[in-house]
Symmetry: C2
Subunit: 218 residues, 2 copies
DNA sequence: CATATTTTTTAGTCTAGACTAAAAAATATG
DNA sequence: CATATTTTTTAGTCTAGACTAAAAAATATG
């Protein structure tokens, strides 16, 4: 049983490892946890003692099998609770992250088993992120960033890379959600901006918008 | 915003005040929190600084308006989550307490508002305890302990005073749950034991069983 | 009502998890 | 490749919330 702080670190390290292969630096961990590097070093040393991760001074940390198992369980809980909040309690997709950040730490395997069932064993959370199964396996989906599409290509929105309320509210305003079809009408080489078509609307989006939206093509 | 430890103390003090009017001793708090008296004194002093309660050295603690508000909000959350676990996730009434003990600390007023609605604004939890409204008001019910009934009287089970798995499982075995009608066929003056009728079954119960079950008469 | 007993508080420690400042190692640069 | 810069760790502190042992206050008792 890990403490709240330990769980949050384990999850953060898992996500950092997804982004870039190899060991994660204590500085990167500190940044993502919004804490100081010395605090991250401290915690990483404690987690290494507990065999949650392997740690080589000045080289960084890597989760062990046990660490990855713990991380995926937390992520599973986080995403299942997000589904509950959106599907059952009718929260909007931009409102659920902070609450799920708390709910993911409730300890009860029976609870999560029953919740999963109650929700109909969903495969994706409201932001399009896959929900790992009890063994920590993720469904692999072929997705790319909207920014990777070329003029005249199209894709279906399957997720968001960034899920801040600001970004999600922007997408709402533009009527983009999971499942929305997006046509790329034009793309500016200079700044990566695009003109896209969503439903009957055509509009301009910046590179920043395009590179935070996942789409499935073909 | 109070810490997990503070919230648990505040709730415990509220419950102790319900049982017996007047100030609650730090020893009683320590007992109910399963901690040492010195730890309870420490925490009570901190909560007094925060105006959650008034505290007179060697006399004990009493929650302020603010303290009572906080306590009833936690109790409201605890009981609503219990309803969720039993009604929606089909947990048994003896399995939910420990999980609700964690869930009651999730901070989000919007969440609890929506949960209440989702559950159909229940008035009682699975153990028959009233769920306070947003303002902290409890429904007052006329209930007495089964042990207070005399021979030939009857009552309908409306709640339990003790809600340990052991006790609840005993009640299950005897087919007693919220709403069950109980006839007192006999009562032993010497030890307070009773012979009761539940449905078609007649059996003996000890005083300890009888004084942990709430019934409504008339 | 003086003294023994019980209850409650205080003083001093410990651990988890944060922080700052300084030291040490790794990396970048002329 | 010697030195400057950046990254990372270490040493030392702090706070919340626990603990033990001792002191002090309240209460019980002959
Ligand atoms: Mn979290
Ligand atoms: Mn999500
Ligand atoms: Mn609790
Ligand atoms: Mn209950």
């Amino acid at each position: 049983m890990y403490s709240l702080a330990e769980e949050n670190y384990i999850k953060a390290i898992f996500h950092l490892q997804q982004q870039k292969k190899g060991a994660v630096s204590t500085n990167a961990i500190a940044d993502s946890m919004e804490t100081k590097a010395s605090s991250a070093t401290d915690m990483v040393q404690k987690l290494a003692d507990k065999k949650v991760l392997s740690y080589v001074k000045y080289k960084g940390a890597q989760l062990t099998q046990e660490g990855r198992k713990t991380a995926t369980t937390i992520i599973r809980k986080h995403r299942l609770w997000e589904v509950f909040l959106v599907d059952k309690l009718k929260f909007h997709w931009d409102e659920v992250h902070e609450i799920a950040e708390q709910l993911e730490h409730i300890h009860s395997t029976e609870l999560i088993k029953r919740l999963d069932n109650f929700l109909g064993n969903p495969a994706f959370d409201p932001h399009g992120d896959p929900i790992p199964d009890e063994h920590g396996n993720f469904i692999k989906t072929e997705k790319k960033l909207l920014s990777q599409l070329k003029k005249t290509q199209f894709g279906v929105c399957v997720g968001v890379k960034e899920s801040s309320p600001e970004y999600l509210q922007y997408l709402d305003k533009k009527k983009i959600s999971i499942g929305t079809k997006i046509n790329v009408l034009g793309k500016e080489f200079f700044d990566g901006s695009m003109v896209i078509e969503v439903g009957r609307d055509q509009f301009f989006i910046s590179k920043k918008i395009a590179e935070n939206l996942y789409v499935q093509t073909q």
